[in-house]
């Protein structure tokens, strides 16, 4: 039913990211194949958000290289970077929705990058039947179809997150990047949401990269785990091969150096 966008692969080559005074990431090597599903884990401050920022071109590495869909981001001009970004769905931690607009318009905004200015004005002012039906179908899949015309600020946190996911999917991306998608949800909801994201990615053959706090869920539902600690890659393996103790140490051992590094 959905035209499949080609899945996108990522590669980090000894990527490092330093801000004045702090090192967010250093020497990270990572290859993500198209269609793969993986979770970035690690305590807060480990560099998960920075890594996602590198992957979607929001942040520029201070050393090493970032390749998206086989192309080095550093070699892309602004126009090419924009074109590439239209194929990367992004669900930021605080959703980045416009609270005083309706769900419909927030979702429609996902496709702005592919429209010219006038086309996008037309879409926002008077969406076509096809666009309306597509957004509705997408929201239906996410279980919030009846919220199509609600204002976003009238929705619960969980519902807002689904709107953000819908916006990212409406982009018809080749990869979905989600920053802490479970952070603001209660435990029951968290599992449900993670399942939904993983299912959606499989359905559409998308690459899915999430940053997660909840290790139990990550191990249960995500096939590949990439652990970060104080800006470095700690381990990277299929979740079946991780054991509880290893994960525990990731957090415990890390506690001390993390404090000093900030």
């Amino acid at each position: 039913m959905q035209a499949r966008a080609r899945a996108i692969g990522f590669e980090l080559r000894a990527a490092g990211l330093a801000f004045p005074g702090t090192v967010a990431l250093s020497g990270v090597d990572l290859v993500v194949d198209p269609g793969e599903i993986l979770a970035l884990i690690g305590p807060s401050g480990a560099g998960k958000t920075s890594l996602l920022g590198l992957l979607n071109g929001r942040l520029v590495p201070t050393s090493g290289a970032v390749l998206v869909d086989g192309r080095d981001l550093a070699t892309l001009g602004a126009r090419e970077l924009r074109a590439l970004r239209t194929r990367l769905g992004h669900v930021p931690q605080h959703f980045g929705l416009v609270p005083n607009l309706r769900v419909l318009h927030n979702v429609l905004a996902g496709r702005l990058g592919r429209q010219g200015l006038f086309a996008s004005l037309k879409t926002m002012a008077a969406p076509s039947r096809a666009e309306l039906e597509e957004v509705h179908a997408l929201l239906e899949r996410l279980g919030i179809a009846d919220k199509l015309y609600e204002r976003v600020d009238a929705l619960s946190g969980g519902q807002q997150q689904r709107v953000a996911v819908a916006r990212a999917l409406y982009q018809e991306p080749g990869a979905l990047l989600a920053d802490e998608p479970l952070a603001s949800l209660d435990p029951g909801r968290a599992r449900e949401t993670l399942e939904l994201l993983v299912d959606l990615a499989r359905e559409r053959g998308l690459t899915l990269i999430l940053s997660l706090h909840d290790l139990e869920l990550a191990r249960a539902l995500v096939p590949r785990l990439v652990a970060l600690r104080a800006g470095r890659l700690c381990f990277d393996r299929p979740s079946g091969e991780t054991d509880a103790r290893e994960l525990e140490t990731l957090y415990r051992v890390d506690a001390a150096p993390l404090e000093t590094s900030v």
């Binding site: 929001r58 602004a78 990367l88 929705l97 005083n100 702005l112």
Partner: protein, 291 residues
């Protein structure tokens, strides 16, 4: 790091003391004496008569007017209508100009909007062109609103002569300046999270500005614009003192002729109009801003 959270000496007490001192200085500087508050000459009589007339505004002329004059109430209504017409025309022009200038002077526009393009030409524009244009436009805006609407009227009268469009411009110029400043501040103060999300999805600078930033600032902008319309009505009314056919003109005339009850007819009309607008804008503000 800790110093930032240390309680600082409250500046309010200092400010308050400075204000009182300034007030005291101003008292002597302006040569104010309490004794001067007592009406002099026929001031007492004028005051008594004028206040007495407040509760009995005239419904018809106090002295028979020249034949062919419209009834007083029709005249009041016509003055009221023209007051609103000049205010609305001036305000709509100000809104147009103010929005354009407000966008152009918002740093958000240059960081999220058109200014955020890359490429050598655009980068040059951003580094050199934009900041100088920014500063120049801010200066223009500052001067536009630093000159009072009555002074604009005086200047326009001197330059163009008496014409209804001068009144509209006299309102539109300073109001456009004020709107531009407030709009650009509002755009700069609103959160950038949605703008960042749209940028991440590949939206162009203009799109990010229009759909990620502007909608968030729009309710505040609309509420403020409505409030300024209220002010524009008052400005339009006093433009009558300079010969335009708004409430001020007739009010001044009636007062000069010592027709205090007629004066109150115009005054009450103005008060009713302003209060009605205030109630309307208050209701809208609650609806739009406080959701």
């Amino acid at each position: 790091m800790t110093a930032r959270f240390a309680p600082r000496r409250a500046p309010r007490a200092t400010l308050l003391a400075a204000l009182l001192l300034a007030g005291l200085l101003a008292w002597f500087g302006a040569g104010l004496h309490l004794g001067d508050l007592v009406p002099r000459g026929n001031g007492t009589a004028v005051l008594g008569e004028f206040c007495g007339a407040a509760l009995r505004p005239a419904l018809d002329y106090e002295v028979a007017p020249p034949p062919g004059s419209p009834p007083l109430l029709a005249k009041v209504l016509e003055a009221l209508r023209l007051t609103v017409v000049f205010a609305a025309a001036g305000m709509s022009l100000a809104l147009l100009l103010g929005t354009l200038l407000g966008f152009a002077t918002a740093t958000a526009w240059w960081s999220e909007g058109a200014g955020a393009r890359a490429g050598l030409g655009a980068r040059l524009l951003r580094r050199v062109g934009a900041p100088s244009l920014h500063v120049a436009l801010r200066g223009v805006i500052a001067v536009m609103r630093a000159v009072h609407e009555l002074l604009w009227a005086v200047l326009l009268l001197a330059a163009m002569g008496l014409n209804s469009f001068s009144a509209v411009c006299a309102i539109a110029i300073p109001y456009a300046g004020t709107l531009a400043k407030v709009f650009s501040d509002m755009l700069d103060e609103c959160p950038r999270t949605s703008a960042a999300a749209l940028r991440a999805s590949g939206a162009s600078g203009v799109q990010v500005f229009l759909f990620g930033l502007l909608p968030r600032a729009l309710p505040d902008m609309a509420a403020y614009a409505f409030y300024r319309f209220e002010c524009a009505v008052r400005s339009s009314a006093i433009l009558g003192f300079f010969g335009f056919p708004t409430l001020g003109y007739f009010l001044q005339l009636a007062f000069a002729n010592k027709h205090y009850r007629e004066t109150w007819s115009y005054l009450w009309a103005l008060i009713a109009l302003v209060v009605a607008l205030e109630v309307w804008s208050g209701a809208l503000r609650r609806k739009v801003v406080m959701r």
